[in-house]
């Protein structure tokens, strides 16, 4: 079966099939052989073949953490944490695939946790630069500044200073 898997700024097309006791995984123009053992509900011990060989010997200890959206995971591998989104082939759609790859489209700034709005640093119509602070939320005893991921223009500001917000509340939109 074939998946589309977004990681970093790329969307990889991955085809996977059984080959006896092993798995064959085609990723881009590369095909590797994988010996997979599930060692926990979300933990895998993988042996992966390296270039030009069909012998799976490279040790890859991988563990996943599931996000709320089905198919979205943090993959922990080689001391790194790598967020991925897995969809069936075509699952991203043409536009979303482009957006996922290029990091475009409106940025919806969401409250990451319950807290209180301390300050709103921008107003609708403002031009903002990447990493510019947009809104300050107090939670876990700390003031946290939420920043723009990319350059853009503030479209809507939905909250005001002093307001309490729940996790997931839309705060503002940058386009």
């Amino acid at each position: 079966m074939t998946f589309e898997i977004a990681a970093g700024n790329n969307v990889h097309t991955v085809s996977i099939s059984r080959k006896g006791a092993l798995l064959q995984v085609a990723i881009g123009d590369r095909t590797v052989v994988v010996d997979a053992r599930r060692v926990g509900e979300l933990e895998l011990s993988l042996l992966v073949s390296t270039d030009g060989s069909a012998r799976p010997v490279q040790c890859v200890d991988a563990a996943l953490a599931a996000h709320k959206t089905a198919g979205d995971f943090d993959v922990h591998v080689a001391g790194r944490t790598i967020p991925v989104q897995v969809r069936l082939a075509g699952g991203f759609g043409r536009q979303n695939k482009v957006a996922a790859a290029a990091g475009t489209g409106p940025q919806r700034i969401i409250a990451p946790m319950p807290g209180k709005i301390v300050r709103v640093l921008v107003k609708a119509g403002d031009e903002v630069k990447a990493r510019q602070g947009l809104v300050v939320v107090e939670a876990m005893k700390m003031e946290n500044e939420l920043r723009a991921a990319r350059d853009g223009r503030v479209r809507d500001v939905v909250v005001v200073a002093g307001q309490s917000v729940d996790a997931g509340t839309l705060l503002l939109v940058v386009e």
């Binding site: 079966m1 979300l42 996943l64 089905a70 944490t81 790598i82 990451p112 876990m140 946290n144």
Partner: protein, 503 residues
């Protein structure tokens, strides 16, 4: 002393429980609503509820905690750090209730808790202080008066809360124009954090190191200092990495700094564990900064290089024992130790707190590794408290050896389901200036604010591909049983996967 109530939560409550168990002393934990299944509750002998999750309604409730101490039959109270650890009313309430407070006297807490009184104590002990205001500037002091005082000290300067700690109510002020806004912000932060908006001013030393000296004092007049801790690696004035010894401190400087620290403690008749913080200037001169009248977060690195169990000694001192450790051995570090504070924060998204359930946890093991943690697999990191979940400490024969072990341990450490500061430390430990110990307290903020500083975690193509392969394998081989019981709705790809498998 038969039974100790631990007036805290998280990793430090667990640390104190362990010391008590080592000594055959019973333990009473307290917990707020959201902490019913926290690790410190699971490990203690007894656990008593003290109120709702908000700290003000539970871990800061002096009356409720004293009540539990009496009902449970505890004869002593260990406050840990944070919460009520530096609250003189709590120490006094324990004494009034006939409980031994495992810490300094309420009088010492009051004296050293006031930054301005502490400065005066240091001056009395003949220890240099950073030039600044000797009297607190109350909330009633006008901007004009504060500006006049500031002119006398000179810019840049530091504006600090008199009742401060942990970087709260603290601002750097570069010029007179910045002062009024900084004053407003510092006062409001100090008022909400400590209930006291008074501030003071101090000259800013441009590239100082933060060096501190651990002390123990008994009730028979003995005060012993320990080899210094290097705590210059700070983010927004909060320590994130500590090590002992400091590469910037020669044996001769160590002798002078530790003697100065002990002199301050003796001047105020200090007992139990405490720490004197100094700023060390580039020319080797040092200034008293403040005293912390409690156990420090970073106490394990001192334990690693001296072999002394500081928490156990806190308890022994509190029950009247004599401090009979060999003074020279405490000033002679055995090799090198380093600590990384692991926070539930996302370092690649502005260190945003990342509370939630820990879906999976793999704790590093092996030679030279110590993990002081309040976390477990399946446990929650609540939104109500400090987001530090554990402290990872490594010991090595040399600084390089300790750092290499730390890198190995961080690579093994998996905290799944929430984001943590582990990638931040991986970035830091590879920094050439850090590796060469060329840093001061502005190091992190300078490096991270530098133009062109990218994300901390650089994912190369090879690792990205491995993550993609792992995700694909997981999806393809996920047992069907889980699909039927999963709380998430069955998705199309799961259906398709099962159909494909039947072919």
């Amino acid at each position: 002393m038969k039974k100790i109530l631990i007036a805290n939560r998280g990793e430090i409550a667990v640390r104190v429980i362990r010391a008590c168990r080592d000594m055959g002393i019973g333990t009473v934990a307290i917990y707020s609503e959201c902490d019913r299944a926290a690790l410190h509750v699971r490990l203690a002998d007894e656990a008593w509820p003290v109120g709702p999750s908000a700290p003000r309604e539970s871990y800061l409730r002096i009356d409720a905690i004293i009540d539990v101490a009496k009902k449970s039959g505890a004869d002593a109270v260990h406050p840990g750090y944070g919460f009520l650890a530096e609250n003189e009313d709590f120490a006094a309430a324990c004494r009034d209730a006939g409980l031994v407070f495992i810490g300094p006297s309420p009088e010492a807490i009051t004296l050293m808790g006031s930054k301005t009184a502490a400065r005066q104590a240091a001056i009395k002990a003949g220890v240099p202080v950073v030039p600044g205001t000797e009297e607190p500037l109350s909330e009633q002091t006008s901007d004009a008066d504060v500006l006049a005082v500031a002119e006398g000290i000179g810019y840049p300067l530091m504006l600090k809360a008199v009742a401060g700690g942990g970087g709260k109510g603290m601002r750097m002020v570069a010029s007179a124009e910045e002062l009024p806004a900084a004053l407003r912000a510092a006062r409001s932060e100090a008022q909400s954090a400590f209930g006291d908006g008074a501030v003071y001013l101090e000259r800013r030393i441009l590239a100082p190191r933060h060096i501190e000296v651990q002390l123990l004092g008994d009730h028979h007049g003995t005060v012993l200092p320990f080899v210094e801790r290097e705590c210059s690696i700070q983010r927004r004035h909060q320590k994130v990495v500590e090590e002992s010894p400091s590469l910037a401190v020669s044996p001769e400087l160590r002798r002078r700094m530790t003697s100065a620290a002990a002199a301050v403690a003796r001047t105020v008749g200090y007992t139990n564990a405490g720490t004197i913080e100094f700023l060390l200037d580039t020319d080797g001169s040092f200034f008293f900064l403040e005293m912390n009248t409690r156990l420090q977060v970073e106490h394990p690195i001192t334990e690693m290089v001296t072999g002394v169990d500081l928490v156990q000694w806190q308890i022994r001192i509190a029950r009247g024992e004599r401090l009979d450790l060999a003074p020279e051995s405490l000033l002679t570090p055995r090799a090198h130790a380093i600590e990384c504070r692991i926070y539930a924060e996302d370092p690649d998204h502005g260190f945003l707190p990342s509370p939630g359930r820990i879906q999976g946890l793999r704790v590093p093991q092996g030679p030279g590794v110590r993990d002081d943690s309040g976390a477990y697999e399946g446990g929650d990191v609540p939104i109500f408290y400090d987001p530090m979940i554990s402290k990872l400490i490594t010991w090595g024969e040399t600084r390089d050896h300790a750092i290499a072990r730390m890198k190995r341990a961080l690579a093994e450490y998996q905290v799944r389901g929430i984001r943590t500061t582990i990638p931040f430390f991986q970035w830091l430990l590879d920094d050439p200036d850090f590796k060469a110990a060329r840093f001061d307290t502005t190091f992190i903020d300078r490096k991270m604010g530098a133009p062109g500083s990218g994300p901390l975690q650089v994912i190369d193509t090879a690792h990205e591909e491995l993550a993609v392969i792992a995700a694909a394998v997981h999806m393809f081989t996920r047992p069907p049983a889980r699909v039927a019981t999963a709380s998430a709705p069955v998705s199309q790809w799961q259906q398709a996967g099962r159909e494909e498998a039947l072919r």
